[in-house]
Amino acid sequence: MVDGVGGQPAPASRAWTRREVLGAVVAAGGLAALRGPAALLATTRQDLRVGLVVPAGAAGEAIERGATLGAEEAARTAELLGRTFELVAVRAADRAEVEDAVRRLVAEQSVCAIIGGADEASFAALSEAAERHGVLFLNAACADPVKRDEHCRRHTLHVAASAAMYVDALAQWLVGEAGRRRWCFVSAATPSATAVYERARRALEAQGGEAAGRIEVDAGTDDFGAVLRDVERTGADLAFVDLAGEARQRFLEDYSAAAPGFEVAGLAPEAPGAFGAGASGPRVGIWPTLWHHTLSRFGATQLNDRFHTRFGLEMDALGWAGWFAAKVAWEAVNRASATGGTELVRFLESGRAAFDGHKGRPLSFRPWDHQLRQPLYLVKPAPGPGDEWEVVAELPRAARGQAAASHELLDHLGDGEAESRCRLAPLS
């Protein structure tokens, strides 16, 4: 299922188990390893291709599942139109392997775009390589503001939401609708965490809220009791948490045990299955996400069904991003009547490029920072003893009685042109 996606009939009625999917992905990784760094998996049909370059691991696999579905659906449409479309998947562990993969995908496979960005290092390497080889790169996962600013490049476009979009969504709902106006920020002492803190504080204050304090957490902290007491002392009604992996997990465990008098929200990495049934970790807090398997409007039910039928798994945010990136690649090639990176970027920057992500509005890319405009969702634990999460809000909200254009409304999430550090001049 990894190679030659377009060449296989879509097994529409087959439910794939998680073991089968992961087994195949592991097998693909093994094949790549046997053939040397970034070995390309075999393809059998010629025409349009999109590349996928991810490191081994759960995030890459989640993106790959989505991209596989997106490529299979594009392949089916392509067949109706007398063409073919394939996903060529590559495992690349480091910068050198990414460079090699991109070079070969462009030279040997003539891919129209590359999907990736499973982690910060992979994102940075792909952005550099895509620019060097003049191929469109669709970032499906990296939200890191520092990395994104460093790699503000012509051929890099972001399907993944930016950190600014996530914090805007949280501020708009938590302050505007949930009445949580005093936030204490809990984050690591890193440049990225500081950038998120500064942006979140601006978002909070723009909504009429105020910062009660900021607590920087040292690396390796595993007891957050003191941090929780510090938050309480600030009088905050909400702790905004921006911690990586294990630290976030520990914080939430200690928060659940202490049950303090303030709410918790913040940024959660779009980890595979993060808000699915049976997700690991404490079920507390309010978190923004790109997608949720319980969404039903605007054809979301059908998309979630197709994903579940294909893989036997719930569609998560990374799966959606991979699916949407493959869809963008296919539709951009058709609508722009071009496969070259610069031509595709020109089309995607234009006002003509709008896509359906089953989110109810036309989704388009901002020309100045190449960020996909899109609604986001806030999730919280569903009531009751189960392990489900539920969507509590879709952001941004349309003001009652105002019919703003979709792109204007969606620009309420994330950095406007004046605010953005990434300001690309439009291609002429």
């Binding site: 449409t77 109706l80 139109l81 896509f355 359906d356 254009a405």
Partner: protein, 338 residues
């Protein structure tokens, strides 16, 4: 076979619990508007002479697409249950006898039938199967599926040319229209339209087809000789959410129900320009025009009513509350031929 019990319940109710159209209404020989109510499993009947509800029929779960037969004596309504990914006995097209208001048969039409078209001779029915990504061709004489064709992903809108030769099937995820040659029962062409195509219709002379694209907010005008898009009409600066579409009997106007934009766009078919935008109820989906072209009816899914538009003035002249939930489609049957 989980659906069989429900099916027996529904048909039992349909045969015994029907509020059939009144004899008085039938005596007037006025065309009747049939409105499918998706969430309540009913069809509401409106007398177009008085714009009053004259009956409600229990039809089964999830009624959506609805069409009358060419002779106006029967109305077909697509039913589907919540089990979208498997075909159950609840997935069917019910046939309603206009004279009695009763369900006379249920026709298998593949899984999750949503929209369909009936051939001009009344002998075949073409249905989209949303989840399966197929179109089913059903012989109405034998009640059998005679072909299942692969079309785009998430097929929805189905339209048949006035001469019965071509069937267009839109596909929401693929952004395609598949062209079925009804003589060969094969897909002979496919073409791209704008984003999320929902419905299609042909002009009365068969030379043009119109395809609505919900996310793009556009209507694609298609030359049916070449099966190519020749023009794209932007509605409300792209902020309309076009779904249902119908052409006036004289072919001069194209009417588009704009879904979540809560309006109807009126297009001059000669110039392809929007000449009016009419506010209606909430989320108009299906749209139909009376045989004389004087009135339009929109099924408003969120306000649970039907807007009646005078096409001479482009004004809403009545709002008819349905005794059901989620009006979805509307068809106008004219058994008298008047």
């Amino acid at each position: 076979m989980k659906g069989s019990r429900y099916w027996r319940l529904w048909i039992g109710f349909a045969l015994t619990g029907v509020l059939s159209p009144s004899a008085a209404a039938r005596a007037q020989n006025a065309p009747l508007a049939y409105v499918s109510n998706e969430r309540s499993g009913t069809v509401t009947i409106i007398n177009t002479a008085t714009d009053k509800v004259i009956g409600t029929i229990q039809v089964g779960p999830g009624p959506r697409g609805i069409q009358d037969s060419p002779d106006g004596k029967r109305v077909y309504v697509a039913l589907s249950d919540l089990a979208r990914t498997v075909e159950t006995d609840d997935d069917a097209i019910a046939e309603i006898d206009v004279a009695t208001g009763k369900i006379t048969r249920r026709i298998r039409a593949g899984s999750d039938p949503e929209q369909f078209a009936v051939s001009p001779d009344g002998r075949r029915l073409f249905a989209s199967n949303e989840d399966a990504g197929t179109a089913s061709i059903i012989d109405l004489d034998t009640n059998e599926v005679i072909a299942t064709l692969t079309v785009g992903i998430e097929p929805e809108g189905v339209a048949i040319s006035p001469d019965g030769r071509w069937v267009y099937v839109t596909a929401e995820t693929s952004n395609t229209v598949s062209v079925i040659d009804t003589e060969a029962n094969q897909v002979v062409a496919s073409f791209l339209v704008d984003v999320r195509p929902r419905a299609a219709t042909f002009s009365p002379d068969g030379k043009r087809a119109y395809v609505t694209s919900e996310i793009s907010g556009t209507v694609s005008v298609v030359d049916t000789e070449t099966h190519q898009v020749i023009e794209t009409i932007l509605l409300e600066d792209g902020e309309a959410k076009p779904v249902g579409v119908v052409v006036s009997p004289d072919g001069k106007r194209v009417y588009v129900a704009n879904g979540h934009a809560n309006s109807v766009s009126v297009i001059d078919a000669e110039t392809n320009e929007v000449v009016a935008t009419i506010p209606v109820g909430r989320r108009p989906w299906g749209i139909a025009v009376t045989p004389d072209g004087k009135k339009l009816y929109t099924a408003n899914g969120l306000s649970n009513d039907v807007s009646v538009i005078d096409t001479a003035t482009n004004k809403v002249i009545a709002t008819v509350k349905v005794d059901g939930e989620g009006p979805w489609g509307v068809a106008i049957a004219n058994p008298s031929g008047n």
